[in-house]
Symmetry: C2
Subunit: 135 residues, 2 copies
């Protein structure tokens, strides 16, 4: 529990019980949409409102504690791992799974760097392996 507070403080945010609860939920979930976070938070903090969850998630994104993910179901998703990495994306349930493969990211970044894009400033590269979990 201390590590959670530390991370929030480190990010330059005040450590409120609500923020701790949301960050703990994200630590547990890894990737999640808002209602999934709400569901998880409700276990230990049922009085927390959905507006606060939105507030907290946004403050986390703005301070670099979470990153938003790309989705194809018109909902916000967040990732607790903020370093650049690839993902599996399951189109059946819109879930993510990390694909930890620094070599792949490095290879793509290196390839990109050989190209000149004078009309676009690339900040990151997002790679998703799209498909479905095998039952």
């Amino acid at each position: 529990m201390l590590a959670l507070k530390e991370k929030i403080k480190e990010a330059g945010l005040k450590t409120t019980p609500q923020r701790i609860a949301v960050y703990a939920a994200m630590r547990k979930l890894g990737h999640a949409c808002v209602d999934r976070v709400a569901e998880e938070v409700a276990v230990s903090f049922p009085s927390m409102t959905i507006a606060t969850i939105y507030n907290v998630l946004e403050s986390f994104v703005n301070s670099g504690l979470l990153v938003r993910r790309f989705s194809s179901n018109n909902k916000m998703y967040f990732d607790v791992n903020v370093y650049e990495h690839a993902h599996f994306y399951d189109t059946a349930d819109n879930s993510y799974e990390d694909f930890h493969d620094p070599e792949l990211v490095r290879m793509v970044m290196e390839y990109i760097s050989t190209r000149k894009f004078d009309n676009f400033n690339i900040k990151s590269v997002d790679i998703q392996l799209v498909g479905n979990k095998i039952a």
Copy 2:
């Protein structure tokens, strides 16, 4: 205009004026969200309702005339180019631009194919170069 009808028929769909208008709009726009399509369609077909636009877009996705794109602003986006290709994604205005580079896609696919994923069936790979257009 004939090519549009042909494509729709080819996809196994009845060629209604509404579908032609939506497909023409997508051909012009390349990538678009629903309200952008509606705006474009309204020029030539102002009586068309938003529900029909959703219907048509969905029928197009189901029949392979369009593909959905991943976005980070909780809205549906569609791509008129259905073959696999990478994109620039501008986080400032949530716009896409094609990054036609078959070599990149091939390289990543080849790299992926050297890995065994026995719990995930990969259908496609989505690569987005995330950043901002330079003014």
